[in-house]
């Protein structure tokens, strides 16, 4: 009987080695270890053995069973990994085929530029204020100290709805509206659409965008204006940016200045971008004219303030190298998708 057991073990071992799939292996298991399997059969015959022989044969039978089970486990693991390998290799794909498109929309580049500017100023404690596009002559000109015969009031410069109503030529009227309604401290920016009677070409558009800023409080100085604009330009154009404050003249500020930033393409050495000067005209600014404060009900003896304004369209054109302002308003998807 013992010999028969060893023989079974050998047979099982051979068959296990020959099996090359999980199914075949399972068949071998059933053949030897199943309820009607050959080893089971042998063990059933143990009843006919003597009580001395039984433990000895039983011991051998258990060893044989354990061995077979081990062979099976070993074979099973190896077949499984072979099968997995085969599966993976048949599932291989051409990873160089194109991906399925997932389209994310793009914000308009002008709005992206505007948002970037807004965020810089919001981080400096500015609130975003808005006003109407159709504006009164009072808020657009009179309240801002523009002389009655100033050329910017001409029909050749400004779009009129009637004698008292125009399309705003700047976002500064928002400043006047805010100052009328609120007491200092005031710290606002007003971004938005503006209009001027310009025939569209590569650098002109009858509609364009501006962002203006206004700070009014006790003790505000020209030095504060310089500091604020330095922080802003470093954020927007990079920390190496220098600015130049040139005295200028605007009706709504006194003193007034124009501010140039060192060219962000050539860092000031001069390139085609800055037309060789190393500087880019950036914005107009100044200390709010006492007349403007007074017009808006703020006492210029108690409060002072500064204001600044810049054209967004030109900045965004410079930043992305867009050479024709009209592209912004044509909205060709192939253009918009680039930003």
């Amino acid at each position: 009987m013992e010999a028969r057991l060893n023989e079974l073990e050998q047979m099982a071992k051979n068959e296990i080695q020959e099996a090359n799939s999980s199914d075949q292996l399972e068949k071998v298991r059933v053949k030897y270890l199943g309820k009607k399997g050959e080893l089971t059969e042998v063990l059933r015959g143990m009843g006919s053995l003597s009580s001395e022989e039984r433990p000895l044969v039983g011991k051998v039978a258990n060893i044989v069973r354990e061995n077979i089970e081990n062979y099976l486990l070993e074979a099973k693991n190896s077949i499984k990994s072979k099968e997995l390998e085969a599966k993976l290799s048949t599932e291989a794909i051409d990873v160089t085929m194109p991906g399925r498109k997932t389209n994310l929309g793009k914000k308009h580049p002008l709005i992206q530029g505007m948002d970037e500017l807004k965020n810089i100023f919001i981080s400096m404690g500015f609130q975003v204020a808005q006003g109407p596009e159709v504006e009164t002559v009072y808020y657009n000109f009179d309240a801002l100290n523009a002389p009655a015969n100033h050329p910017s009031r001409d029909m050749s410069d400004t779009f009129y709805i009637n004698e008292e109503t125009i399309l705003r030529t700047q976002t500064s009227p928002v400043q006047a509206r805010v100052m009328e309604k609120r007491k200092p401290p005031i710290r606002i920016i007003s971004p938005g659409r503006c209009f001027r009677n310009d025939t569209p070409d590569a650098t002109h558009s009858p509609m364009f965008h501006q962002l203006e800023g206004l700070v009014v409080d006790k003790g505000i100085t020209l030095a504060d204006l310089k500091g604020t604009l330095e922080v802003f330009t470093k954020y927007f154009f990079g920390s190496q940016t220098k600015i130049k404050f040139r005295p200028h003249n605007f009706p709504f500020t006194e003193p007034s200045a124009e501010i140039d930033a060192s060219c962000f393409k050539c860092s000031g050495s001069g390139c085609s971008f800055c037309k060789g000067s190393g500087w880019i005209e950036l914005l107009g600014a100044g200390m709010v004219h006492p007349n403007v404060l007074r017009n808006c009900g703020i006492d210029p003896e108690v409060y002072s303030g500064f204001a600044f304004g810049m054209g967004i369209d030109r900045l965004v054109m410079l930043k992305y190298g867009v050479d024709d302002i009209r592209l912004f308003f044509e909205n060709d998807m192939r253009f918009l998708n680039q930003f």
Binding site: F121, Q130, V134, E164, V231, F245, P247, N331
Partner: protein, 797 residues
């Protein structure tokens, strides 16, 4: 304003290179647009004298000249016609470099040796339109003998730096050499030297006895006249011509050149009349008569009106005051006696006149910005001085100066500490005084104040703040420190509305929509294209008085026309698919408003074409509203909106308010807009949307107990809308119905003609325990019964 550096140096000592000066002037407020170094690259040109001229043996149009250039005589072949033996001329010798990169070499012309070239002004770098008429096309004949062989630039002042300044509108005093010299002196720390004006009048008593009568005192505040006899009209000397040319003015003749020279030097426009053509002895300054017509010296007949000022004699107009003289009294070669005018005209008057006539001159450009009426006297004396020294005429004693109200200096008291307070500086008072005095503003310390006396040429200085600028700019804005604003902290940020707008944009961007940006003004016909009805509110436009053209003549009442234009353009550019949105204002007239301003209503428009249908658009709208926390969204059939397909259009509703409309664009509109692909568009009142937005999100616990999911397929008549089924599901679903979702609509085999099968997945759940089959069956049965009873639908077998 073009300023030749050598001319500027007559009034102020400048000891630096032109680029350094330019930087300093820019930083003190006189922005340098650029500078040109005239004659910089020109070499090898010397003074020569023509010894002989002989015909070229082989060429009719050429001559052979012998030119003495000192130690040697050159043979030069030229085609010039205006040369004579004895003339002094600029000679480009072998190896010379001329303007425009022209190089001169010895050579042979038609077989004859030519050892150089005789030069025109153009070849020496003068722009053609500035060269005097008489020598424009020939060799430049020098006005008198000069030492031979010397470099031409030693005898003519043509090698120079010409600086171009941008003069701001508040500084008309800078439209003159003296004005710029004053700024230069203040900027670089020099002293301004005024020209020495002295005059030798003829003793002779005149019989002219000129009188001036200013009738129009509003238009003219001062009028000075002088008479010059024995006038000899001829070309000006070289130095005068050169200065004018370098300042951008073309020399004409000695009298005209002198008036231009003084205008450039002092900023005072002058005018010379031929006295012969003045009738009577009185110059009358009066308003033009209605219908008066007048021929200006450019030969144009001008129609005048009462708003204009003219200079006249007793019977006719002589000049349009401050703008242009008349053709008749123009100074010509035949002129023997002139009347020289130095006057001051009101800037508003000149500006209006010049604009009305469409006639802008150097004189009108200065008057309309403002000229100091006090310089009229010195300017006319300066002109007379030049007339005498150039022997252009004899100045008579007679000088009429009518100046009813003399312009006086202003005295203003300013606080020195206020200067520092606003600049953020710590300047001592003495430095402020020095700065002001460098600008010829007298400042006297009075306690803690400064009493300043503003010269009459500075009409821009009125209030304290104006002096903050003067002190700041001359001290140097670049020296002012940079600080961050002190004072109260203000919380920055966006308003609620702005944040909602951002939220909506983010949602649409994540759905793959590009943001577009279009003009706020449109063509009134734009609404025709989208089939807007004849009496629609969308035809009630805010109109522009002076639009660029019909295409941009009214403010938009809808964002749809612009969107359609963008979609059409993209389709025509062969962009196969597009998703686009715009948030912007529409404009509706509001006659009730006190300030007459229209309503500006923020709108949102969404449009798309490509692999899209009504339901993909509807999904976008639903997704958007979901992001904005607007849950009670509803869609209502809309059959009468003329922009959309009548069977594929819905109103977008929230709590019985129509928020907007969406649908497939009407085929007629597609045709109108030249669109070949089906477009899907939604237009929404964004102001209203914002009112319904609820952005605060509250957390709901995740379910602990399992859901029971049942399908429900209902066969129902084709015309019944699914909304009807869903109403019943919602109503009868009780509180254990968590959600339901339509997953299939089927027509065809097994379903009777005229019917459809609509299949839903219903999810039931109780948050506190596991549901039993019985509970769910009961509710599901109630729904089935409801569908049968209320809308005649049956369970699909």
């Amino acid at each position: 304003m073009l300023v030749p550096l050598k001319w500027l140096k007559e009034y102020v000592e400048i000891d630096m290179e032109v680029n350094e000066l330019s930087d300093k002037m820019t930083m003190s407020g006189s922005k340098v647009e650029g500078f040109e170094s005239l004659g910089k690259d020109i070499t090898g040109v010397v003074v020569g004298k023509i010894e002989s001229i002989e015909q070229h043996p082989n060429a009719d149009k050429l001559v052979i000249t012998k030119i003495n250039i000192g130690e040697e005589t050159l043979q030069i072949v030229t085609g010039a016609k205006n040369i004579n033996v004895g003339d002094y001329v600029p000679v480009a010798t072998h190896g010379a470099n001329l303007a425009e990169g022209l190089k001169i070499k010895k050579g042979k012309l038609r077989g004859e040796v030519s050892e150089g070239m005789l030069c025109s002004q153009e070849e020496l770098g003068i722009s053609k339109n500035l060269i005097p008429e008489e020598i424009k096309d020939g060799i430049w004949i020098l006005d008198k003998p000069y030492p031979l062989r010397v470099n031409i630039f030693e005898v003519v002042e043509l090698q120079d730096d010409i600086i171009e300044f941008e003069i701001t509108s508040n500084r008309p005093d800078c439209l003159s050499m003296i004005g710029m010299a004053r700024e230069t002196a203040a900027t670089i720390g020099g002293t301004l030297k005024y020209p020495q004006v002295y005059l030798k009048e003829e003793d002779e008593e005149t019989n002219f006895n000129i009188k001036v009568n200013i009738e129009d005192q509003e238009g003219c505040t001062r009028y000075i006249a002088r008479v010059i006899k024995d006038v000899k009209i001829q070309s000006s000397p070289l130095w005068l011509q050169q200065r004018l040319m370098k300042a951008g003015v073309r020399p004409i003749n000695n009298i005209v050149d002198i008036t231009n020279y003084v205008m450039l030097e002092y900023g005072q426009p002058l005018h010379a009349f031929d006295l012969n053509f003045i009738e009577g002895d009185t110059i009358i300054v009066r308003s033009a008569n209605a219908g008066e017509s007048f021929k200006t010296l450019d030969g144009v007949q001008r129609q005048l009106d009462e708003s204009m000022t003219v200079i006249a004699d007793k019977s006719k107009g002589l000049a349009i005051a401050g703008v242009m003289g008349g053709e008749e009294s123009e100074v010509t070669e035949a002129t023997g006696t002139i009347l020289l005018e130095s006057a001051h005209f009101s800037k508003d008057r000149i500006r209006a006149t010049s604009k009305k006539l469409g006639l802008r001159t150097e004189a009108s450009a200065r008057f309309e910005k403002g000229v100091d009426s006090n310089i009229a006297s010195i300017a006319i004396d300066r002109a007379c001085q030049l007339i005498e020294t150039l022997s252009a005429g004899k100045v008579l004693k007679e000088k009429v100066d009518v100046y009813p109200v003399k312009k006086e200096t202003r005295k203003i008291s300013i606080r020195s500490n206020r200067m520092n307070e606003l600049l953020g500086t710590n300047l001592p008072v003495e430095e402020m005084i020095n700065i002001l005095e460098s600008l010829e503003i007298v400042a006297v310390k009075e306690d803690d104040k400064l009493l300043v006396t503003v010269p009459t040429f500075r009409d821009d200085l009125h209030i304290e703040a104006d002096f903050v600028e003067e002190i700041g700019r001359i001290y140097g804005f670049d020296k002012i420190p940079s600080t961050m604003a002190k004072g109260n902290i203000v919380v920055g940020g966006k308003t609620n509305g702005q944040m909602i707008e951002d939220l909506a944009k983010e949602a649409l961007l994540s759905f793959g929509f590009n943001e577009i940006l279009t003009y706020s003004f449109v063509s009134p016909k734009s609404v025709d294209k989208i089939n807007v009805g004849e009496d629609s509110i969308k035809r009630n436009f805010v109109k522009l008085l002076n639009p660029l053209g019909d295409e941009t003549s009214v403010m938009r009442t809808s964002l749809v026309p612009n969107l359609m234009e963008v979609l059409s353009r993209n389709i025509n550019h062969k962009v196969t698919e597009a998703r686009a949105f715009e948030i912007g204002s529409i404009f509706i007239p509001n006659s009730e408003a006190k300030d007459q301003l229209p309503y500006e209503i923020s709108n949102l428009v969404i449009g798309m074409y490509g692999q899209e249908d009504f339901y993909s658009l509807k999904g976008v709208v639903e997704g958007l509203f979901n992001e904005l926390g607007i849950t009670d969204l509803d869609f209502e059939v809309e059959k009468n909106h003329s922009t959309y397909h009548p069977g594929r259009c819905a109103n977008i509703m929230v709590r019985n308010h129509i928020i907007g409309t969406m649908g497939e664009i009407h085929p007629q509109v597609m045709e109108n807009c030249d669109i070949s692909k089906k477009c899907y568009v939604a237009e929404l009142d964004f102001n209203l949307m914002m009112q319904f937005t609820r952005v605060v999100t509250m957390y709901k616990p995740l379910p602990k107990y399992p859901a029971m999911v049942r399908d429900l397929a209902v066969v129902i008549k084709e015309e019944v809308m699914v909304k009807e089924i869903e109403k019943i599901i919602k109503k009868r679903g009780s509180d254990i119905l968590e959600s339901f979702e339509l997953f299939d609509v089927y027509r065809g085999n097994q379903i009777a003609e005229g019917y459809k099968s609509v299949a839903y997945t219903l999810t039931y759940r109780n948050m506190d325990r596991t549901l039993t089959d019985e509970e769910v069956n009961e509710v599901q049965d109630a729904i089935v019964t409801g569908i049968k009873e209320e809308i005649g639908g049956t369970l699909r077998e």
